[in-house]
Symmetry: C2
Subunit: 204 residues, 2 copies
């Protein structure tokens, strides 16, 4: 696209860097900014700069947090013997919304993905191993996505932790609530039969 203004071109290019935003959408967003007040646009731009410069991570679980310890890690009522390993803050929020988990989290900050240049050292696995080596943790729940990257990361964590006396589990894979069997994919349906649970459990 050939723009009549360098300012527009810059803004469109910056928006286009975001995932899922093409140049047409970027132009639409750019024109929207032009209809906003100057002070609003200043707040808009500065929110991102301030986010990136001042971002802080919890020293314990590595989730994003304004304090040194996040609210969940600082909460004495949470069970610190059970640690749920997740990819990022979105997964923490999703699991917290279920109100089914009372333990603590460990946020990896990504999954191992050689294709994207993300190795084991780029995520917080060393810190997880160190935590486990202290002997206080009884169970590690692996709650990563069922992708090749998630599975690779699970396997790597499993190998690193198997020398310690810690129970390792993965979240259940199966048919979603409300889903019809005939539309489920074979892999999920097959797994849901292999990992069937006692009927009484489904009543909880």
């Amino acid at each position: 696209m050939n723009f009549s203004s360098k300012l527009i071109q810059d803004a469109v290019e910056q928006f286009s860097r975001l995932p899922g935003i093409g140049r047409k959408s970027a132009l639409r967003l750019t024109l929207h900014l032009l209809k906003m007040d100057k002070s609003e646009v200043r707040d808009f731009g500065e929110a991102f700069i301030s986010l990136r410069e001042n971002i802080n991570y919890c020293q314990e679980c590595h989730n994003i947090s304004d304090a040194d310890l996040c609210e969940l890690c600082a909460n004495p009522n949470r069970d610190s013997h059970t640690v749920c390993v997740v990819e990022d803050i979105r997964d923490v929020m999703a699991i917290e919304n279920t109100h089914q988990f009372k333990g603590k989290y460990h946020v990896l900050g990504g999954v191992i993905s050689p294709m994207d240049g993300v190795g084991p050292d780029d995520v917080t696995i060393d810190s997880l191993v160190e935590k486990v080596s202290k002997g206080n943790i009884q169970e590690i729940i692996l709650a990563l996505s069922t992708t090749m990257e998630g599975d690779t990361t699970n396997f790597y964590i499993f190998k690193r932790l198997k020398e310690y006396n810690v129970k390792m589990t993965v979240i259940a894979r199966g048919i979603s609530m409300g889903d019809e069997l005939e539309y489920a994919d074979e892999l999920t349906l097959g797994r849901s039969i292999v990992n069937r649970t006692p009927y009484e459990n489904s009543l909880a």
Copy 2:
């Protein structure tokens, strides 16, 4: 959504202000920024602030332009007797891409939309009337969207300009090239029959 960090919350709220971006997408974009370098995020934020503060409009056609006169208005080879009225820069770019129009543009900067609080004074209609009143323009081509707002704006411009000796046309409405008749809506198909053109014209 309850975020563990005010910085994240601010960034998500800012992204959510953009049209078509909900809070889930906003969080995804925010987390993407956290994976970018600090200097990249600074450029990202500053591009929008600079856009809004330094934006300039062509004094002639009101299109966005870094100079006082945009490239199209400054071009002596363009026919200044024919003026195409459009809503914004996207329409100028779309029409320029067709290479079918050699006249000049007049960018309204919006369409009249009482529902959104946009009246005739919020768009550049006065400036268009002033241009026409000088008597140099022979034809005004109305190229607004076929929406209620576009039609209202067309009608308002028509009323304001009818006292001047200027030909007013609207771009043709009809079946898109490659479209199948059976799927066309009745209104468009009906209009395309009423406004049929000599066969020889379709060969051009």
